[in-house]
């Protein structure tokens, strides 16, 4: 049935050699396959550094929050507007990295292309939050929780200070991404007011110590320095609190927004925006290109500006008598969900 091989010594030697070579070849093949596999794996990881396409274009998973499901808006642009407690003309130079001036006015504009809305989030300058501390030579020495306005005081007073403020606002608002910043020195206020023809307001406080025409109850169109008095005045004005000043700042910004929309609705928009930016150029600092600013202004001209949102929390007098605003962490999360997320049905969640 079976042929029994009767190998001679010479044949056996040949078979052994063939077997040995086969095994060696097999091993070589295995090693080669292993090396190729390793190389392919490395390549796939290199691609991974730039993101997995399926993840990049896939639907962002919904998050569960207080019993509901939410998914982030995908077409958001965030711009932090910073009003700096400083005059552009100030030339008494500091030498340390502690001369940025305080961020007196902080407003985060959230432009939502999907809902065609602009939501301003007002942040009190006395909001207690983590900020970056720079040593006098510019080295980071750590973080500490203080009034958020101080975040701008560190740094070079220019881009670096703005970025430190952007970082502080991001930390305050649950690490959100902030796309751009626009910072304006205080003397930009009258310039902005005047280039738009003056903002009309009714005075709910008496400013006559600053300007005799600015008495309680007067309705007037602010001109020149009156705009700055209205926006910056605090001591000896009404309650003297930053909260009251923030209310006034918002009245001013709303009126300004109305004026701006009106002017944008008129012809020669691009020329108008360009002219506006020319006037404000000495007072503005931003990481947006002029073209980007013009595009944003133009693209959002018909967007609905929603009522400004503020963080809930409480004001207290700090240990050294300085005002502190302690934002409620739960309220911050609520606000973030309201502005940055939209509810989804449970069945559509990923």
């Amino acid at each position: 049935m079976f042929k029994r091989w009767n190998l001679q010594n010479a044949d056996r030697k040949t078979v052994y050699m063939i077997s040995l070579i086969s095994i060696i070849l097999l091993v070589v093949v295995v090693v080669v396959i292993a090396l190729v596999a390793q190389d392919l794996e490395k390549r796939s990881q290199t691609l991974g550094a730039y993101g997995d396409l399926s993840q990049r274009f896939g639907e962002v998973p919904a998050v569960e929050y207080k019993g509901g499901f939410y998914r982030p808006y995908e077409k958001l642009t965030t711009i932090l507007v910073i009003g700096v407690d400083r005059y552009s003309s100030q030339t008494n130079l500091g030498v340390t990295y502690r001369n940025g001036g305080q961020a007196d006015y902080l407003e985060l504009l959230v432009i939502n292309e999907e809902t065609q809305t602009i939501t301003p989030i007002l942040i009190d300058r006395d909001t207690m939050t983590k900020i970056t501390i720079l040593g006098v030579l510019g080295d980071e020495t750590g973080t500490r929780v203080v009034q958020i306005c101080l975040s701008h005081g560190f740094g070079d007073g220019k881009e670096q200070s703005c970025l430190l403020t952007v970082r502080a606002v991001s930390w305050l608002l649950n690490d959100i991404d902030i796309d751009y910043y626009i910072s304006m020195d205080m003397d930009g206020i009258p310039a902005l007011n005047d280039v738009l023809g003056g903002v009309t307001v009714t005075l709910e406080d008496d400013f006559s110590a600053l300007d005799p025409a600015m008495t309680l109850g007067t309705t007037l169109t602010l001109q020149g320095m009156q705009a700055e008095y209205f926006v910056r005045g605090r001591m000896y004005i009404g309650a003297g609190t930053n909260q009251a000043r923030m209310d006034r700042q918002q009245v001013f910004m709303d009126a300004l927004g109305g004026k701006l929309s009106q002017r944008l609705g008129e012809s020669e928009n691009a020329a108008f925006i360009n002219g506006l930016l020319d006037v404000l150029d000495p007072y503005l600092l931003t990481d947006m290109s002029r073209g980007r600013m013009i595009n944003e202004a133009w693209n959002t001209r018909d967007f609905v500006q929603l009522d400004p949102l503020r963080l809930d929390g409480e004001y207290v007098n700090g240990a050294y008598g300085f005002k502190e605003f302690h934002a409620d962490e739960d309220a911050i999360s609520d606000l973030m969900m309201q502005v940055f997320y939209h509810p989804v049905e449970p069945e559509t969640q990923s």
């Binding site: 091993v27 991974g48 006098v136 500490r144 070079d156 008095y229 008598g321």
Partner: protein
């Protein structure tokens, strides 16, 4: 052992070697994924390092910006109020600023400024007797302090460790009992100049008691963190003399031992720098 057996073991050994190589390569890949900073492929790491580099680059490249602006403290001096709200720090004292000139009304002195983060208290060392009227921390640098600061910045700008500027023989000072032995273990080349202020000295002490002064600054210090205060004053020949002082951290602040003899030599003005 037959040749057949030898061949079998040889083949087996080769197979084991091959699989070991495969296993090792897989293991290396896994390790490189888990190790922070161990791979170029980690997107999160790249982003983080990129951000850090960005900040570093800004700091390094900015140098001394010629357009740095004034603090509120400066503003008040310029407008001639004479009352420095950031030195006094209490609302009661701020209320002493009277009148309604424009700068005062606009100035939000009820709120924090960077200078208001500076605080200090002083006691007689070992007795706890308050000497809080001894110093004030000035809002702005004096001319001497500013000139010295610019020299320090230029020195550090050349990539040299700031300790080198002060030319301090720490070992010698420890051996002479001027500094605590703990300083021998400190790598001074890693210390930075975190704070730098001008001090006004209001009272010089005729006795040889030493002062322990606690300073709070914008920078907060960790417990046990190596810190050293450098006390500078102008000598009669015009040079600024720097003295290293024993310093420890307490609740985020620094506690500095200042010999009264040093205060007498300094006169009415001194500079305090904190290395950390």
């Amino acid at each position: 052992m037959t040749k057949r057996t030898i061949s079998f073991f040889l083949a087996l050994a080769l197979i084991i070697v091959a699989f070991s190589a495969i296993a090792e390569s897989s293991s290396m890949t896994e390790n490189s994924q888990n190790q922070p900073g161990g791979t170029d492929e980690s997107p999160d790491l790249s982003v983080t390092l990129g951000n850090l580099n960005q900040v570093t680059e800004i700091v390094q490249n900015t140098g001394q910006s010629p357009t740095m602006s004034m603090t509120l403290g400066n503003l008040n001096q310029v407008t001639g109020t004479g009352q420095s709200p950031t030195m006094s720090m209490t609302l009661g004292n701020l209320n002493q600023v009277t009148g309604t000139n424009t700068a005062q009304v606009l100035s939000p002195t009820l709120s924090m400024t960077l200078n208001t983060l500076n605080r200090f208290s002083a006691t007689i060392k070992g007795y706890g007797v308050s000497l809080n009227g001894l110093f004030t921390i000035q809002d702005t640098l004096t001319r001497d302090a500013r000139a010295a600061f610019e020299a320090i910045a230029a020195y550090v700008g050349k990539g040299q460790a700031v300790i080198g500027y002060f030319d301090t023989d720490v070992t010698g000072l420890v051996l002479r009992g001027k500094l605590a032995p703990g300083y021998l273990g400190v790598d001074f080349s890693r210390l930075i100049l975190s704070e730098y202020v001008s001090l006004s000295i209001h009272n010089t002490l005729e006795t040889d008691i030493d002062i322990t002064s606690t300073f709070g600054f914008a920078s907060e210090y960790r417990d046990g963190q190596p810190v050293m205060a450098m006390f500078g004053y102008r000598e009669k020949n015009g040079d600024i003399v720097w003295t290293a002082l024993n310093t420890i951290t307490v609740n985020g602040q620094v506690k500095v031992d200042i010999p009264s003899e040093l205060l007498r030599r300094a006169g009415s003005e001194a500079i305090l720098g904190i290395l950390s």
